[in-house]
Symmetry: C2
Subunit: 142 residues, 2 copies
């Protein structure tokens, strides 16, 4: 539906999503591009201090609604967000329980597991969550 975020500028993304190119949205997109990995609204708002948190919440929600971004639930209370990857780059995360370091894992090899893991009581599976939690190398040295 959308070209990858990588080959579209922020105005194009908003236009395609039928969202107005406001100062706030453009600032948010600019800052989000600087972040690696799934971020919290709190973190993004720290980078966009000029606008209200509510605006950050609402705009992120709009971007999720149109498919530009996706929501990720890791262990903590806050939801996290990241640019929605296309099917071919669908991926998961490994989270360090000690320092919170989040790594994006290269590729999703889950499809073959669907039929094995899923029961006969389901007509279709259209989503799944797979996250790993452990200790990263640098934390294991401390």
């Amino acid at each position: 539906m959308y070209g990858s975020v990588d080959n579209m500028n922020d105005h194009q993304i908003l236009a395609t999503a039928k969202l107005r190119a406001t100062t706030q949205r453009l600032a948010m997109l600019k800052e989000m591009r600087k972040i690696h990995g799934p971020f919290t609204v709190e973190r993004l708002h720290k980078m966009c201090r000029s606008m209200d948190v509510v605006t950050v919440y609402r705009n992120i929600k709009s971007l999720v609604a149109v498919g530009v971004m996706r929501e990720v639930r890791l262990k903590d209370a806050s939801l996290r967000y990241e640019f929605s990857p296309g099917e071919e780059t669908h991926h998961h995360h490994a989270v360090c329980n000690s320092c919170g370091y989040i790594e994006e894992l290269s590729e999703c090899k889950m499809h073959s597991l669907f039929s094995q893991q899923t029961s006969k009581k389901f007509k279709s599976i259209d989503e799944h969550v797979l996250e790993f939690f452990g200790t990263c190398n640098s934390c294991s040295k401390k």
Copy 2:
């Protein structure tokens, strides 16, 4: 550490966990045994109306702390709980996006995927989350 919940009575579970056998805890354990699949505190409290929700929250937390129960995060805002399965019965869930039906999947076949999916930047992975979301058979007929 603990015998399976199946072959211990509620007094034994609490004794082993060094938790006092209060009226509330015994009532909670009794009701929890009637529930299939991961439940919310709200649901359990509806079955234990005689006590305060705070007590339900606190006791569930204690049971998680001693390993009798485990926390499961599905898509909704509330945490869910279920009796902590032993290693050999570690499992995941399939959730119907339409009616909320939750099925426990028979067995976890994830271990072989750990090394494939996880990066070289992690010393160890000691936990993972795998949940499927889709439409169950009966909802697909509606």
